[in-house]
Amino acid sequence: MVSISMGSTLSAKPSPWACRLSVTAVHFFILVLFLQNMNADTWLAILGVIVVHLYSAVALYLWSNLDRTTAGDTVIVAVTLEFILIAVLFWDRFSDWPWSTFFGLFVMQSCAYLGVRFWRGLSKAPPTAWFGLVVILLYVLMAAAAPVIAPFGESEIVGFEYEPWGGEFLLGTDNLGRDMLTRLIYGGRNTIGIAFLTTCLAFFLGSFLGFVAATLGGWTDQGLGRLCDIMMAIPGLIFILMVLSVTGTSIPVLIVVIGVLDSTRVFRLSRAVAMNIVVMDYVEAARLRGESLWWVMWREVLPNSMAPLVAEFGLRFCFVFLTLSALSFLGLGIQPPLADWGSMVRENATLITFGDITPLLPAASIALLTVGVNFVVDWFLHLTSGLRE
């Protein structure tokens, strides 16, 4: 086994001091963060304290199982301490938003962890994939710590309508006099968050049913397959509009409708992938051992169909994200006063006729994210197909 090398010559497992120190630092930092907020919202703060303990436990567990080097540890500790340092320097901003600070830290630590864990693959990634990864990281960080970064409140009216760029408002103000930059940051959080939840729903539903159909076969397979065919026969946007006209538009409805509709594509893929796996000898062996359906799906089929599913997750996310923005653009998605990139384009569209590109900023943000995700998925597909051949 070649150990992970990050320019370091040490290959032996380093002492766990860094891991313990870092987790302790994070633990106390977040503890202070939530405790000083005790007066503002007691129950949320208590929940926060519980979450801190769980988080520390998980971090300690994951980290001690990581195949580590000194360099890898240094990266994780450095990222963590840096974040804490920034938070302490701008304490009055961060202390107002304990949850956002926590999410920001969570994102930074997860990225550092994943970066170290998969460094060997990452170091060979092409520049387009790196570009995509950096874009995704920035977006996620922005979404996680939105209130801390944004200069104003989400729907706070801070100036006149359509103020130009520069000065107090970096990107000007929108049609109601709200700060454009703030809206952009919050809009990213809302759209990305909802799109992510929707994609997760589509995946749980689609891959679960797909695996069930492939493992059981027979009537279950036929029934689910035909149902899926019918749903795919209606054009997606029309289907969603139909449902929204009856139920009215709200965030849970959006998540469920788009999620269920999109699960049909996941169903097709996961069924096709699982079909090739369930005929393997090891699945046969598991069945002969008398393992349950659940075991076969969870322990035999799922781990072996991970690669195509992860790639599909990226593509589905893009698709859901575009659908959601399109709906918001039509005024039928995320409703004001919540910020959203699609509806921001619509609200400020009049500016375009004056040659002002401000309304294109949210649209460009959407495009940048989808392009970034596509680049990463391209690389990932290339990687996994190369490994399999």
Binding site: A233, I234, L241, M242, L332, I352, L360
Partner: protein, 318 residues
């Protein structure tokens, strides 16, 4: 020939069945989804009597099968009911709008299809060249862009900066063909850009797939030029997947107009559908959704039948 006819017939039967199930869903979807429509339409302040009257007007008090058969019967005779918002006949409301939408989709298709096929053939001919890579990157990014982004960029460039085309497609029934076409040029261009990528990539892939075949090698050894090989030998054999992807994209075109119509305030069916969804004008939504879904299903069916029919193995059975 019997086998081919049987396959086409089976596919057609399946398509009709799908159409039937979709129509059931669209007409009765109100029933299966949560929330009471009559209450939603009338608002919170409605009395039980007015709600009951509303339910009667919408036909919600009839049993399901009666409601569906009545709806279908009327639909087939061109009577789509009355709009809840302004009490106008839906068929009258939809008539010119449907024409407008089809006109826009047609213009986009007339530009997009030959352009996509030509670009695809050129990309296959000069594969791995700078041109190929350029086209590849452009089409990949145009797939990832939201439609309204493409639309507004075009407005910014062609309507605001250059002033060549109108930024709003304001059409009225009495317009001549060329004037109408001129006014929808920007929405048509947007749609073209949106669908061209997929068609072009498929054309390129379909041709490149064939280039390893022995008969292509034979043609090359005969001393034919590359362009002649591709046009005379590869293209006819790649026709089935190309036709398939073209028809599928035409189907997408009919549906994709919704957002483009809203951007350019074009009085088409998509615009009507979106407006009706926000005012919750269910009969109009049902009628336009049925038209969209029907067109989509029929075009997809055509794609299936054509790809069966152009399959050389089925055309020339041994």
């Amino acid at each position: 020939m019997g086998k081919l006819a049987a396959m086409v017939a089976r596919r057609l039967a399946l398509g009709l069945l799908t159409l039937f199930i979709v129509s059931v869903f669209i007409s009765l979807g109100v029933e299966f989804l949560p929330g009471d429509l009559a209450t939603a339409v009338m608002g919170q302040s409605a009395t039980p009597e007015t709600i009951a009257a509303m339910r009667k007007e919408l036909g919600l008090d009839l049993p399901l099968h009666e409601r569906y058969i009545e709806w279908l019967w009327k639909m087939m005779h061109g009577d789509m009911g009355v709009s809840l918002a302004n009490q106008r006949e839906i068929s009258e409301l939809i008539g010119t709008r449907l024409e407008n939408t089809l006109f826009l989709a047609m213009i986009a298709a007339v530009v997009a299809v030959p352009l996509a096929v030509t670009l695809g053939i050129l990309a296959a001919l000069y594969r791995y060249s700078l041109y190929d890579r350029l086209v590849n990157i452009t089409t990949l990014s145009s797939i990832s862009f939201p439609e309204f982004f493409v639309a507004y960029i075009l407005v910014l460039v062609f309507a605001v900066t250059l002033g060549w085309f109108p930024s709003i497609s304001n059409v009225s029934p009495g317009l001549g063909f060329w004037e109408h076409a001129y006014r929808v040029s920007l929405p048509a261009l947007t749609l073209t850009l949106v669908v061209i990528a997929h068609m072009m990539r498929m054309t390129r892939a379909a041709i490149i797939n064939l280039l390893a075949s022995p008969y292509i090698e034979m043609a090359a050894l005969k001393g034919m030029t590359r362009s002649r090989i591709i046009i005379k030998h590869a293209l006819p054999n790649a026709l089935a997947p190309i036709i398939n992807v073209i028809v599928i994209n035409l189907a997408y075109l009919v549906v994709g107009v919704v957002i483009v119509e809203v951007v350019f305030v074009y009085p088409g069916l998509g615009q009507l559908l979106v407006d009706s969804v926000s005012t919750r004008d269910i009969p109009v939504v049902q009628a336009s959704a049925m038209i969209f879904a029907g067109t989509y299903i029929l075009l997809n069916l055509t794609a299936d039948v054509l790809s069966i029919a152009t399959n050389p193995r089925l055309m020339h059975p041994r």
